[in-house]
């Protein structure tokens, strides 16, 4: 992190200020508020890794919090083990549990994931109550009040403040790390478009699991700390749905998927709620709760993207006027990565599909298709709409599993492999685009391409360099900082190619990248495809625009009604009566 950047030093200063404020104020209540703010902000940040970055709305995070509380307390009571060790033990346990809890739930989206997480929380709470021999049941556990650093129980308040600040700093650091790392990009990619992420080699399940594990770990440490701070735990209080909702709400109000959002949300809402209880509580029982609910609804209605989502950019721009601001360095495109060494295996098969069959229910969508792509070659796949071209593509890139038949790829080491998942196909060297473009719409063009580049590097700078290079190749250099959703159709198609290229594929599957483009864009795209081939990439392209296919392809394959009609040189294929029949109908074939 560059400390001279205004956004960075301002953030650090404000964080420090938050730490100093209660010390200066000196009142134990202010201390308490800040201890709560720090620890809840840490919880909200931890939650944000799953709820924000990964986009999985978990309302069961109290499970991990509770595991942390109980592990530390039980180890302390039963074995006299310091809660510092218990904190780590609890966090590890929570991480393990998180894998078992989340894995099966990943296929659920939105409200269903939320409901499942609530159900898991309820089950865990009830089991903790039921297993009272082990957990003390719902009578709860009182933490022995042995004072001292090793027991995390203090007469003074500042150690609690320091610990909670430490937890928050850890959570923020982890968030910051994730956000600026390959994992962060992958999380966003999976959240936005899982298919597109798979196509650039992202193992969606592993990425989500990583997020959940990190989140559970951090959440659990705060749970352990809270047990020592409150000195009493009971299942109803720690495995509580209200707590889960509250954590998520702080993050939401601040801004999901941002680093500062969860902190800002907590800093704003928690003290207000705490004070409101004092001020409004005398008015009528429940009045503060009522106001709290109403405020939540208003916030959601007026700033659904959260404070940072709504105002972050403007505030950021203001801060950047402070001294020390430097434009991000323009990364020189690396020149080496895409120029393949003149291959010795040029012209030898690189992708072989044999006797592919695919059934959807009773429909025979792919009927005995065999294809061989040679290194350095462009094969154009043509055929009428609905002929099953994309279905073949999906089998060649792992998105569909053939009912029978095989797909083999020659790796750069010369071995032949049959990958099992889209991500493995990507890693084996297959890059693909989608007929319906799938950009990560909220990310910039650069970031879109970087997600592809991350397949071969986890270094941020290198990924930027690759992005710059690929952008040059695909004529996107001017648009690198544009948000993907603002691109033209042609731009989006090129972005599809660029993202696939960034994975440094040796085989590129292009699915109608020319469709819907205007003539000048088509010329541009054809030029780009040639350039790509010249870097040594073998290309299989589905295309409707005959002229382009004819001029680009070394070979043309015609697919009709799921089967391969003919394969051969372009001139031969166009003259084939079967092809004419397939395209224009029987009566034309003899004309």
């Amino acid at each position: 992190m560059n400390i001279t950047q205004p956004q960075n030093y301002v953030s650090l200063l404000l964080l420090l200020l938050m730490l100093v404020f209660p010390v200066v104020a000196g009142s134990p209540f202010v201390y308490h508020i800040f201890i709560l703010v720090f620890s809840y902000a840490a919880l909200a940040s931890a939650w944000n890794v799953v709820g924000g970055f990964a986009g999985q709305l978990s309302l069961g995070h109290a499970v991990y919090y509770g595991v942390g509380s109980y592990t530390a307390t039980l180890l302390m009571i039963n074995f006299g083990i310091s809660p510092w060790i218990g904190m780590v033990a609890g966090a590890l346990l929570a991480s393990v549990i998180s894998v078992f809890v989340s894995w099966p739930c990943f296929r659920l989206r939105g409200p269903f994931f939320a409901l499942a997480s609530i159900a898991v929380l309820e089950v865990v709470r009830l089991l903790v109550i039921n297993q009272h021999g082990l957990t003390g049941g719902s009578a709860g556990l009182a933490v022995p009040l042995q004072q001292g650093v090793e027991w995390m129980v203090f007469r003074e308040r500042w150690p609690y403040l320091v610990i909670s600040f430490g937890l928050l700093s850890a959570a923020l650091f982890v968030s910051w790390k994730i956000k600026n790392s390959r994992l962060g990009y992958y999380l966003i990619a999976v959240r936005e478009r899982e298919d597109a992420a798979l196509a650039v080699g992202v193992n969606a399940v592993r990425v989500k699991l990583a997020a959940v594990i990190i989140s559970a770990f951090l959440t659990s440490t705060v749970g352990s700390f809270h047990a020592m701070y409150f000195t009493f735990i009971e299942p109803g209080a720690v495995f509580s749905l209200e707590l889960s909702i509250q954590i998520a709400m702080f993050a939401l109000i601040g801004g999901l998927g941002t680093i500062s959002g969860p902190v800002i949300g907590t800093v704003l809402v928690l003290p207000l709620a705490e004070l409101a209880r004092g001020w409004l509580g005398d008015f009528a029982d429940g009045f503060h709760g009522f106001v709290y609910g109403v405020v939540l609804v208003i916030v959601v209605l007026t700033i659904p993207r959260g404070l940072v989502g709504q105002f972050g950019a403007r505030v950021g721009a203001l801060i950047n006027r402070l001294p020390g601001y430097k434009e991000p360095e323009t990364v020189q495109p690396s020149t080496s990565t895409l120029t393949h060494v003149q291959s010795e295996t040029l012209g030898q098969p690189i992708l072989v599909a044999e006797h592919l069959h695919k059934y959807f229910g009773g429909v025979h969508a792919t009927n005995d298709v065999s294809l061989t792509l040679k290194e350095g070659e462009i094969i154009g796949v043509i055929g009428p709409n609905g002929a099953g071209k994309t279905t073949v593509f999906n089998q060649l890139s792992g998105f569909l599993k053939p009912t029978s038949g095989s797909v083999r790829i020659r790796t750069s080491y010369g071995e032949w492999v049959t990958p099992k998942s889209p991500a493995e196909f990507a890693k084996a060297g297959i890059g693909r685009t989608f007929q319906i473009v799938q950009p990560f719409a909220d990310l910039s063009v650069r970031e879109n391409i970087m997600i592809g580049a991350f397949m071969n590097t986890d270094d941020h700078v290198e990924a930027r360099a690759i992005a710059a290079e690929v952008a040059q190749l695909t004529d996107l250099t001017d648009q690198l900082d544009k948000v993907a959703r603002d691109l033209t159709v042609g731009g989006m198609k090129r972005l599809e190619m660029a993202r696939a290229l960034a994975t440094r594929p040796r085989i590129l599957l292009l699915d109608e990248v020319l469709a819907g483009l205007n003539p000048s864009d088509i010329t541009k795209a054809i030029e780009i495809i040639r350039r790509i081939r010249d870097t040594g990439v073998s290309i299989l392209m589905i295309e409707h625009i005959m002229q382009a296919t004819m001029s680009l392809s070394d070979h043309v394959a015609v697919i009709n009604s799921g089967s391969l009609l003919i394969e051969g040189e372009p001139e031969k294929v166009v003259k084939d009566p079967q092809v004419i029949e397939a395209y224009l109908g029987k009566e034309y074939s003899h004309a």
């Binding site: 709820g51 709305l57 099966p104 739930c105 296929r107 659920l108 989206r109 939105g110 409200p111 269903f112 939320a114 409901l115 499942a116 609530i118 159900a119 898991v120 309820e122 089950v123 009830l126 089991l127 109550i129 039921n130 909702i245 998520a248 709400m249 939401l252 999901l256 009528a284 029982d285 429940g286 009045f287 503060h288 709760g289 009522f290 709290y292 609910g293 109403v294 405020v295 939540l296 609804v297 959601v300 209605l301 659904p304």
Partner: protein, 293 residues
Amino acid sequence: MEIFLQLLINGLMLGGTFAIISIGLTLIFGIVRVVNFAHGEFLMIAMYGVYLMNLQFGLHPYVAMLPMFFLMFALGAVMQRYIIQPLLSASDEIQIFATVGVSTALMNAGLMVFGADVYSVDMSSAVVGTGMTSIGSLTINNGQLMTFIVSILLIGALDWFLKYTFLGRAIRATAQHRDAALLMGVDVKKIYIIAFGLGAGCLGLAGGLMAPQYPVFPTVGTFFVLTAFIIVVLGGLGSLHGAFLGALIIGVVDSLAGYYIAPDLKEVVYFSIFIAILIFRPTGLFGAGRGSE
């Protein structure tokens, strides 16, 4: 055997109560695609409403539930119009939190207005809805039986409405494909308001039917809402028959697990069923819903 039969009857009768609560939720869930966390608080309002009408005008709860249906319809429509509608294109979590906010506000409003006291409708002079019916040694609670019957009738009526009226067909079309319905000229916003109103209105009936068995207090909604969610997912998103069968299943599971396993573990049993359903058959047992969507 006799005990088993009695447990079965108890479970089915409890299921009737669950059903009347879940019907509204599955309508809202299935059509508007919003998980309404304030559903329990709507139920609370309906129960207070029935209680007040009984207290002020001496209306039998079964009579009071009719005006309550319309009042709740209005409440639901207002909620949809002014809170959910502006958020229709927002992400799931935003919608969920809006309803959580409403839930918190309403629950505390209940506390402000009525205090934490527990009120129950005085049924001592009522003839209908009280007492027991005995068949041999087996007993059935009349009030629960009534709830059971009404929930079947309600499903029949809604079924008819959705299948054979223009409005109903428009609602179904919207539920299946919002954008397509929009293209076909359906006023989706209006449909949603009606659907939400209907869903809330069903709770008006629930408030009346439950009055003889359950007292009302500010947190009464939280006693039922999670179970209702389970039932709706179990039965399949938006499926009325599914919700009914789901309610009966959960009712019977509740009853049998309470006897044969342990009363404090019965929730574990049905939450586990719920998780298993979500994971292995997210469309629900009976529905053509799209749980993993």
